[in-house]
Chain length 344, copies 4
């Protein structure tokens, strides 16, 4: 059996979650997210972001969270704006458009948006009412390329959005990884303060399913629950989501798991860099993109699973390696050794 570095959702969940599911299994609870575990988990999150007035909803996955947020926030003629690498643009089968909204794309090198990227989009959408109104800025942290936002970058972007009456929405499917990355200077509290709405991803960080949507902007809180039910995202047994986030939030398990994933990735990155390997982008989270020659890729793929991400030239391609909360040292060491033997 090959070890897979293809993604961070190949295994089940952290054992503490399974234990908690068993522990509480026979307690009768109110359905649809009103269970005690969900209420407590939300309370813990509110404490962490130091905002008593945040509205919090647990849903199953990232695409669901994205379509719920965007369709709830926008009026029919308003559009989202995303980096061209954005998950909503490429990997969600038109989920946003299916709710009626255009997503405007901005080409960027590193998967991040800056005010200067957005200015031309606003300028090119002034032919009222013949064009959509750009209204929500969608960013991912960490991004689809593994990069992260600095505090300064997020502050500038947040400031820009407020001045231009744009909503700032952060896709946090891998927010844990971003906030525990080596170069990170953001905090969960700052993310909550600087965005209008964001989510904290569980699925890619040790949960079976689950993303916690956190709405800071009071204008966007009203009636959000209706949309969750209408889009088929309200679980009868909301306890399944509540228990998981309760465990993840306790003792910062959430951040410990993300940190583990990052460290395993960094071990491989450092080892490869020492061997002179170049990387497609300079990342500090659990996604790395080493550029390897064809022979090396072929040999490594005999023992490991991973995606060949992008052809660089005739001989070299970048591969994508993703580590997870559960990636064992053995797999990491094995990969490093195997690579060491073959890299020319």
């Amino acid at each position: 059996m090959k070890y897979s570095f293809k993604n961070d959702y190949s295994e089940g969940c952290h054992p503490a979650i399974l234990e908690a599911l068993s522990r509480y299994n026979f307690d009768q609870q109110t359905g649809y997210g009103e269970d005690q575990y969900s209420l407590k988990a939300k309370e813990l999150i509110r404490q962490k972001i130091k905002n008593d007035h945040a509205d919090i909803y647990f849903v199953s996955g990232g695409t669901q969270a994205n379509l719920l947020v965007i369709s709830s926030v926008l009026r029919p003629y308003q559009s989202a704006v995303s980096a061209s690498t954005g998950h909503i643009l490429n990997n969600e089968t038109g989920a946003i458009e299916a709710t009626g909204h255009k997503v405007l794309s901005i080409e960027t090198e590193d998967g991040k948006l800056r005010p200067e990227d957005i200015v031309p989009v606003l300028e090119n959408h002034g032919n009222i009412p013949h064009q959509v109104m750009p209204k929500l800025i969608y960013i991912s942290n960490s991004t689809e390329l593994g990069t992260i936002y600095t505090l300064e970058e997020l502050e500038k972007l947040s400031d820009f959005c407020r001045k231009n009456q744009l909503y700032l929405f952060m896709d946090g499917a891998r927010l844990g990884h971003a906030l525990t990355a080596e170069m990170n200077d953001l905090t969960l509290e700052k993310v909550a303060e600087l965005t209008d709405i964001f989510y904290l991803g569980g699925t890619k960080n040790g949960a079976l399913i689950g993303e916690a949507i956190i709405i800071n902007n009071k204008d966007l809180q009203q009636d959000f629950g209706f949309n969750i039910k209408q889009k088929g995202a309200l679980l009868a047994k909301g306890r399944l989501l509540g228990i998981q986030f309760l465990e993840l939030m306790k003792n910062d398990l959430y951040f410990k798991l993300a940190d583990h994933a990052n460290q395993q990735a960094m071990k491989i990155k450092n080892a490869l860099q020492e061997r002179g390997v170049a990387f497609l982008s300079d990342t500090y989270t659990n996604q790395i993109f080493p550029v390897l020659d064809r022979h090396t890729i072929r040999v490594l793929s005999e023992k490991f699973e991973f995606y060949v991400w992008k052809k660089v030239d005739e001989d070299f391609s970048a591969i994508r390696l993703i580590t997870s909360w559960n990636t064992p040292d053995e797999a990491v060491d094995d990969f490093i050794q195997s690579a060491g033997k073959v890299i020319r």
Copy 2:
């Protein structure tokens, strides 16, 4: 703590499911429903319905299943038709309309649709193109009132639909309870044969989440997976659904759990009937609607939770009691005794 008869999703899941989740937890699997457990569970279902060519998809809940099926099957100008008690009409926040489709309502006594109920709807929608085209017949089994379809009723309805080029879709959120009811003469195989598409509900029968959508009509199979992703219903860790259905399908656990729920309801029903209590409808599944006087309701509600469903006259109301796969004998006995003491 009061014992709740409010619904069949108050507890977690059958322990066998938790055990299986733990057993397989660290096995790496392909994501998005391509895991080994999902594939095996689908194989088991195909065997049970004796149809190798059925397409099967696992999704999280009933509203999600309903909106996925209906929006996938219908063209923009086509509508669904439902009994006025239908879940899609009353309890899904307009989820079907949110995908663009009208739901036509038919008043019925017992929550079931018969060809003679549908004929006038077809006759009243002949003003082409000024009216929607009725195209999909939505039925629930068991219904929202706890009633069930007989084989003969389903055969007639199926025959009518085929003659009129209508799709027949069965909401099986409580199909287990229907198929194990005392008066039932339908089988899962017959359901699959007589409908174009239906689903087998897990959430209300011992799973944490999960409904198995089964597409028998080949015309409706094409590209269904795209809709699941687009509507945010495709879980990265599809294993969560696969493992649950694998356990439920093994050794007919699914039907044993439903049978237990039904029997517990029937014990209460029989005991109350012996005391002369009338019922709102004559049901044989896990939903019963005894008609009790105000005093009895007040006394019982001190020890038990349940919904007061419908006022019958000044003194009497029907309450709704729902039992589940996990309802213990003690709760049933306690309810019967408590009722016995107070019923006048």
Copy 3:
């Protein structure tokens, strides 16, 4: 050639409109509703309703106006409420649902809604967030049955809506006929004051196409123009709509045309009543529903076109006669004479 009483859109338009179209034909004008004629026509309407701040948009037809207004005003989880006879429920191919919104139906005798009809709908939609939120009350004046609202009725309804935070929207496809009916005590000014949004129908009152949407509620004015473009309702040559409304508004041509249609209907009504004919409903606008025996209907249908509306018993049916701005005295007299000869 038989004379048709089937509807009020069988002919072209009032000659004054054709003359104006010719008169202004070669003047170059700004497109998309910013032409001089549209601006002047809007000014005239604002004067008539005595509201300088009303936003006014001209669109092509009634279904278009209805779907534009409702989809613009409602949030995704909110629904419209209509009398069961409402045009949006029966004759628009699910146009409202196609924009994502459910329409709740209320059975009424005369096609009108009163607060007491709406109260139960509000009471039955309290299961948040499992049900849509009723938010917009849709009424027609005159209704699809030819009946009209009195000032007192509209005041009560308006008051009820404001107290319950509901929007009141009047479909005025035949508002001219309502406001010029014999028993009417409403004015255009009062309609504007008592509704949040309404439209003034041109298509059924002497225009080629055209409905004037008038938005009084400032909250609903914002960005309405985007929706018009997005739904394909913004005409490049907006002058076509502007010129028509300019002519209709000048010298109250609009009301004179509607009055003519009403008077022609009343002549037939009175003549038939004198012959002892009963009517399905007591109407004073350009739609009348005399109840005639089969023989009479057969004989009349040899010379005239009309719809047989509703079977009353084995021998008698109600027919629908609609008169228009252009119905000549000869046709009316001929019908009365022909009927007189045959009515038993």
Copy 4:
């Protein structure tokens, strides 16, 4: 009063249309497109394209035609593909997305799509079911840049689409201008043969409103009329559209009008070229884009209205001049003279 070269919809309509509207004005006709004029106009179009089995529908405008066609043809998870200059991408307020469909954009120089442009889009959308399925190729002829398709180009594209099970849809808002352009070798018959669906634009070629949607592919014909009603595009007085197309189709008035517009543009183009003026693109239809210096633009804009289209360098910009069926020789001559005096 300045003469406007801003667009081809500044005036009313060709006088023959007004005459016909007057001539037929008092004839009673069936509504909703079943009038005699519409039926005859469709017959004339079928003769011109030599296809007795084409389905034809008249609608009001281009955005309406585009959203109707695309939302009718595509399944929810399928997308349209357009050149980046496409009207549906930039100038329709997200009308296509509002019906639930993504539009994929392809960068092109001249506003035209070729098979080799589309291949990479197909290749990049193979991650089933995580991406939309490209299914409909949207092209404009003439394009938004004034360029046109040759017979060979359209044949290759059509062939490519059929081989790849893609629908080919031509936006013909300015199809008349394309087919009468100097360099054109396409015919209306060939357009009908090589596309699945296209429309013939009236609004920009002498009608008040009106586009004729022509469906050649039988699979796409079914039930199209329902969509027209549902989207609010079905006019009660369909005669307004029918009469216009009847006049335009008679004696090839449609093509004569387009030819006039083209010739007026070519006169200006030739005169400016003789003065050494460069053009942004080499066009032969009624849109031209001369590159002029700031001084020239300022002087010309004192007498004429036009859009400054694109800055070329510090001193020079391209302006857009559009001529129409009604552009008089005087305006053309005056422009040429005025330009001649000032061009350096």
